[in-house]
Every structure is written in C-alpha cells, then in structure tokens.
Subunit: 134 residues, 6 copies
C-alpha cells in the first residue's frame, strides 16, 4: 500500500530513467529500492532528493560510510520511520556492520531514548558551560 | 526552571554522593552536569541510570567514543531534547569532534529528517529483500 | 490487526448508527472508513470525535477545504501516523489535489522536517522580534 | 516569549471572562495558568478546549484524578511539550503525587521510551494473539 | 518482516534460554512474545532489557500493575510504536482493563496530544509558580 | 544559548556574506534571523540549506505563499521545534495571516494531533480503497 503509484515498469519518464541509471552506477547494483520508485511520481522531487542523498551519503567525507549509515538509522528510529529503519539497516550491513555493532548501536539508541525522556520529564536547565553562543 | 529540586549542595544523601564520586572518577573531572543533579531527587533512579550510561557510553566497546556521542546527538535531535543536544554536543567536542565533523553530522541528521518525512508521506512498502525474518 | 474490534455489521448501537448516518449525510457517500468503525468501540468517544471533526473540517470557514486537508496531512506525516496520512491524502485527492500540488506539499513537509532538525541541533535562540508577548 | 499576546488584564472579552470564571470555579482557585491566558487570543478555541479539558479531566470517571494527571504527563513527555510537563506535574503534585510516585512514573516513562526505540529499531512483527480485529 | 532474525526454535543460546525461562516464570505463562524473540539476536541486550522490564513492571511498587500498563500505552502511542501499543494493550486487558477504562485512557491520550500541539503552537511561557528549582 | 557560535559581526566569510546578501535581496529586508546566523558556522551547509529554502518557499509555485507558511508551521508544531514555530508564525503574519486564520490553523493542528493519537492507539488498519499502489 502506498499513497502514490510507483514507477515500476519501463518506459519511464526520461528524467526518472536518468536518476535510476545514476543510482545504479553510484551503487554498483541493478537494484532500485522502493523509496526511489515511489518518489518517482514526481521527477523533480526525485532528482533533488537523490542529488542530496548522493552528495551527503555517497561522497567521501569526514565520516566513514558505515558511521553515516548508523547515524541515519539512529534518526530514523527516533522518528519512527519503519521503511527508513529497514533500508538503512540493510545498507549498514552491506557496508560491514557486524551483529555486535548492530547490538551496540541499538543499546545507544535505546539509552538515548530513555535519557531524552528523563531530561524532558525533569525539564533540566542547560548548564552555562555548554553554551557556545559568544 | 525544573519540575524537581536539584541536589546541588552537600551534604548529600550518601547514595547520591557515591554516584557523584563515580561520575567524577569515570570522567576525570570535578564537574557534575545538571542532568545528574536533578535526577538525584531519587537516588535509586540516579543509580540505575548512571550505571547504564557508564556501561554503554564509558566502557570500551565495538564503537569508538566519538561515534557513540554523535549517535546520541542524532537520537536527541530527532526526539527534540534540547538539554540532551547541548550535553552530548559538548561531550562530542571534548572527544575531538571538529567543526567539519559537526557540520557533516548535522547534514546527515537533516537529510534523514527529510527522507523520513518523505517515506512516511509516501507510505512506501518495505522491499522484500530487506527482510531478515527467516 | 487492531487493538479493538470494529463495529462493522448492523445492528449497531443506536448512538453509533446515528453518527454513521451523519457521516454519510455530511460526506454525501455511503462509505464509512475504518477509523470511525474502530472508534465505535466506545459510542461516546465516537460522538465527541466526529462532532469535532465535522465542526473543524466540514464547516465553511476561513481556510478552504483542500488547504485544511493538506494541513492535516502535514501534521500526520510529522507525527508518523500512517493511517492518517492515507486517509487524508485520499480526502485531499477527492477535494481536487493534483499530483503537482501533492509533490509540492511533500517538498514543503520534507524541507520543514529538515530545518526543524537543524534548528534543534543548533539550539537556535528565538529572535526578539518574533515575540508577540507584550 | 509567545507566538500570540496573552489576555492578562481585564476587561476581557465576555466569552473569555466566562471561561476564566468557570476555570476558577471548577478548580476552586483564583489562579489561571498561562495556557488559558494565551489560548484566549481566540475565544472560540478557548471555549471548546476548556470544555473538553473540563469534561475529560475534571469530571468523576473510571480513572482517579491522579492517574489521569500521570497519564497526561506521560504523553506530554513523549511529545516533548515542556510547558505541558510543567503544568501537569504541578497538577499531579496538587492531587497528592509523592516524590516516590513521581520517581516511579519517570522510571516507567523512561523504560517505555527505551523499549519503544528498540521495537522500532527491530521492526518487530505484531504477535497474532494481540489482534482484537475479529 | 524485521531487521533481525528471531530466536524461535530451540536449542537456544543458554543465556537466551535462561531469560526465556525467567519470563515464563515471572508471567506464569508459556507464551514469549515477539519482542523478546527478536531482541534475542543479542543475548546481552536481551538480558539487560528484561532485567529492567522485570524490575520496573513486574515488581510490587508505588503504582498498581494496571496503572503502569496504561502509562506504558500512553508513552507508546505518543512515540508511535505500533508493536508496543499492541503488546501493552494486551497486557492491560490481562490485568483487568475494561472497555470503559480503555475508552477513557484513549480520551486522555487524545486530549493530551491535542493540548500538547496547542501549547507548542502558542509557545506558552512556563508559569513561575510551576518551578521547583530552588 | 546555542551549540555553535553565530556569525553576527562583519567581516564574514565571503560565502556567508553572499548568502546573507541573497537572503536580504530575496526578502526585501535587511533583517537576517538567527537561524541563518548560527547555521553560518558552516558555509557549505548554509549555502545548500538556503538554496533549498529559496527554491521551495520563495519561488512562485502551485501553492500560495501563506498556505506554504501555514504548512511549515503545522510540521514544526508536530515536530516540537519551538524556534521554527516562532519564525514561521512571524512569516505567516507578514504574508497576511489574520488572527482568525491563525486560530483556525491551530484548531486543525490540534485536531490532527488528537486523531493521530487515536488512530495510533487503535492501530486502525488502512482501508483498501485508500491504496494507490497499483
């Protein structure tokens, strides 16, 4: 079920086809996951979203690729996006995440969820020494 | 402002004092941040929470200390916990996070926030190949 | 699957039947979607919820009906309510939302999700000029 | 700071004055907290919101008044509403919540926050026996 | 579908078997729900999570068992954890929650969700009298 | 307080100065609000974020400027971003939002928050007729 129809059969809109070709080339795989197929209901939204994902996630940068996927999982869990949790857990595994690393990732996410709730329940005032606003 | 009164002057409850001493020894610093001072309104809750934070965040493990702090920031941002964002950004800086790493962390969190919203708006069905349930 | 049993076969509780009749009359359609059928496990909760939805969403007001549905979608996406995203996207289409408007709606929701995360990560102080508290 | 101006000086709009009088009578106190003063920027919104709060929270019902306030705190913490956490923690204390009950409330909220994150990270399928949909 | 494989057939890891045995003994039932079977992909995470759930939820304390389950439901709804809503609604029913109590619980959760959104939209400043920070 | 230092005094990094100049030209105002001043701690993140905001929010499109601001408010409220609620409420007023429209916006956001919580608590299954996935 989805709120839009997927682009799952050729011939596609040429703009969609170009993005799909770039996804395949960037990832070195023929597989296009559902997120892109459904987002393709609007070619401009598909293009701009893929451009940003490619820039942030698939370009060599300060952080290593596995760390980036684990950060993506952390945000997706806290935001309750089931699809995103699935897709980025799969990506993290493909980039070498071991079961032990997965378990540690979950223990940190769970602990942060716990202390986030505690700090909000206590309405703890921010320590003056944390401030960078000067 | 807070929903409870802090433990900010000695003499403390001995159980609180013991936790504060362990926080200082573990961190090698005299500073006790507000989260622990306000959580000290209940010594049992303080003890169990610190024990878990120490185990997960201050014990050598699969992931390096800076990665762990960045994951904590990611969850805290998505959960909207201002205090937690402040405290763990300060901790990440103390563990060596550079401005460039901070900026990249924010670009990943922001992108995940964006695509989380898109996937939820599209109600994208999970790809069969993501499933580990077998 | 649900946490309650639906009211999906007549004869109904007369209070449920009255609400269902009013939903049909207000919408000009025989179709009663699942939300109301499951909420009918408690007739008082059904009555008060429908009364409020009818007042806010089905009464001529400052905002046009399509804008109101798009606002409902925006909140439902941010809150991660899959059912609500589905039902209000369907309602928005019935009120004339075009694919281009749908795509623009998603681009705004996605951008807001992104900058919400950035502002929270930065803990930006509110500008004095924004304040209406005088 | 607020996004609207409060109604904090008489003479008020008579509809606002009537709601304020009913709040005072219902609570047996002269104090009107900020939520109502700011919501008073729109008298209809003030009236309908107070009517619902009075019906749900201030009318004898299945659940006792303190349990109702603790449930309100639980939702408000999870939704990250600082003002609501403050106002309902104050209300719970006024209805007899002890420090030990407050600490236990926080330990349940924190644990639920933790396991909510774990279940979402694992994407646990719902057990068939939980289903009431028949 | 899940992001990990469940432990659903003996022989198990002895640490997993020990936790499952304790769950059965504590609950007086042979049934082990999915949350624990999937969390068992990491025996240490299973052990620590069960120990905390047992301590907080299955040990006699200030709050009665049904109130504790309703609080868990409240947090789980606000956090959008479908699995958790199902499992704790089932648990609350097993502990005696009536349909009338369930309906009242939902009316409080729904009202809190509503006023949480209003207070955030208004950015209501916290009343000085709510402060416990002294 | 903030987690980064703002760029609030010239001379700026030329890339920051160029973005600030474009913000001023686009908005026809000298005022640069805090979000951009703090985001300027990283010029690349500032550039890409402003480019997207300008494209989505300040370019003539399917939806009118006031509707776009109200949608932004709706998402920001649901995500609990106080700064964003303030800045976009100010922007909506500047684009002509009346107090009556503001009140109606809040009544829709509040109602959506309420029924989002109800649908999640009930775990309502999606109606087959809502599906666009064909």
């Amino acid at each position: 079920m989805s709120t839009v129809s997927p682009a799952d059969q050729p011939p596609f809109d040429p703009r969609v086809a170009a993005v799909f070709a770039d996804i395949r080339a960037t990832r070195g795989s023929d597989f296009i996951n559902h997120f892109w197929r459904y987002l393709a209901f609007d070619s401009a939204l598909l293009e701009s979203t893929w451009a940003e994902v490619k820039q942030v996630m698939a370009t060599p940068s300060e952080l290593d690729p596995l760390t980036k996927e684990m950060l993506y999982i952390a945000v997706s869990v806290a935001n309750g996006c089931g699809y995103c949790v699935h897709s980025h857990t799969t990506a993290a595994r493909a980039k070498g995440m071991t079961p032990a690393q997965h378990a540690e990732l979950l223990s940190i996410i769970a602990l942060a969820g716990k202390t986030n709730h505690l700090a909000t329940a206590l309405q703890v005032p921010v320590d003056a020494s944390f401030d960078q606003d000067h």
